[in-house]
């Protein structure tokens, strides 16, 4: 196992689980920690690596009052064993047979499953037009910068909710209706929409998409614990 620092609060963990069956972009693993007295704590983490990569990568953000994330971001070292169960989930996954555009919307660390999806989109040579709208607090909080670089066929729009870089000409502030209208696929394209982040973020963005005219059935959501990128 290898661990690297992604941002001050975020760490990337690379694992080689034995007998790993492979996964679908968007799936997660359950990580379980066991203390010497038998006490256990468990949380779910999205897989950040695409299916084509043999090693499984997790990108974990430290929640200050979390039970599991501080261990993963601060304590875990190369060479440690980590108990994981997975891959899990068939709902919040890359829509392999989508006939239409795909619109991804991420709040903070909610971008992790989309890192896997965009990498999969690239390595599988998919021709489905995909867009990611990604909300981060500041430039220092942006995760997976390499994987999110612009490519033909996939568009990534970043917005900063707290501090944008000095020379930033892109969007600023929270993802609201105006930002969605300007930077997301419109209802006429009937995009498959996937939204991931904290519960308040996911529910606010869902409401806005419905208000803009997207069908609720085209929207899938995955909620993370913590406040996410809401401030």
């Amino acid at each position: 196992m290898a661990v690297t620092r992604e941002t001050p609060r975020v760490r990337r963990i690379r694992l080689r689980p034995p007998d790993w069956p492979g996964h679908v972009a968007g799936q997660h693993v359950d990580v379980r920690l066991t203390a010497p007295d038998g006490y256990t704590a468990q949380r779910s983490y999205s897989i950040a690596s695409p299916p084509s990569q043999p090693e499984v990568e997790l990108i974990v953000e430290r929640l200050d009052d979390g039970e599991v994330s501080p261990y993963l971001t601060d304590e875990l070292r190369a060479g440690d064993l980590l108990e994981v169960r997975g891959p899990i989930g068939g709902y919040f996954v890359w829509p392999e047979h989508s006939g239409t555009a795909v619109q991804l919307v991420a709040g903070g660390s909610g971008v992790v499953p989309f890192v896997a999806m965009l990498a999969h989109h690239r390595t599988s040579g998919s021709s489905v037009p995909v867009r990611l709208l990604y909300s981060a607090r500041t430039d220092a909080d942006v995760i997976a910068r390499e994987e999110l670089r612009p490519r033909p066929g996939s568009a990534v729009v970043l917005t900063f909710t707290r501090d944008a870089p000095a020379d930033w000409t892109g969007p600023r502030g929270r993802i609201d209706r105006e930002l969605l209208v300007r930077h997301s696929a419109p209802p006429e394209q009937s995009p498959a929409i996937l939204i991931c982040g904290s519960t308040p973020f996911v529910e606010a963005v869902t409401r806005e998409f419905v208000a803009i005219g997207h069908a609720a059935e085209r929207i899938k959501t995955e909620r993370y614990g913590g406040m996410g990128d809401t401030s």
Partner: protein, 97 residues
């Protein structure tokens, strides 16, 4: 689909049930359509509200907030009840759209 506009920031959704339910069921139930026994609304299990910090996972209907399922998994084993589910449907198609 807004049973509560409250700031339930700790609330998750049915995506997290995938792991615990895999201890009991071979099929992935998070993609199953669940009909709520309280209000009759139906939605994929992944879209249900999950309160994960109680002594057990408590799953509630996104329409009426009624409890549809509870799941606890620990060293002793698994406890699971779904008295709030009127019907659970798993389609054989693998088209998720």
């Amino acid at each position: 689909m807004n049973a509560s506009d409250s700031t339930d920031t700790g609330r998750l959704d049915g995506n997290v049930l995938g792991g615990p339910l895999a201890e009991l069921f071979a099929a992935d139930l998070t993609v199953a359509t669940v009909a709520c026994a309280h209000c009759g609304d139906h939605a994929p299990m992944a879209a249900f509200q999950v309160y994960a910090d109680a002594p057990a996972l408590v799953v509630r209907c996104p329409g009426c907030a009624g409890v549809v399922m509870r799941c606890a998994s620990d060293q002793r084993g698994v406890r699971f009840e779904m008295t709030g589910v009127r019907l659970l449907t798993v389609t054989s198609s693998d088209d998720q759209a």
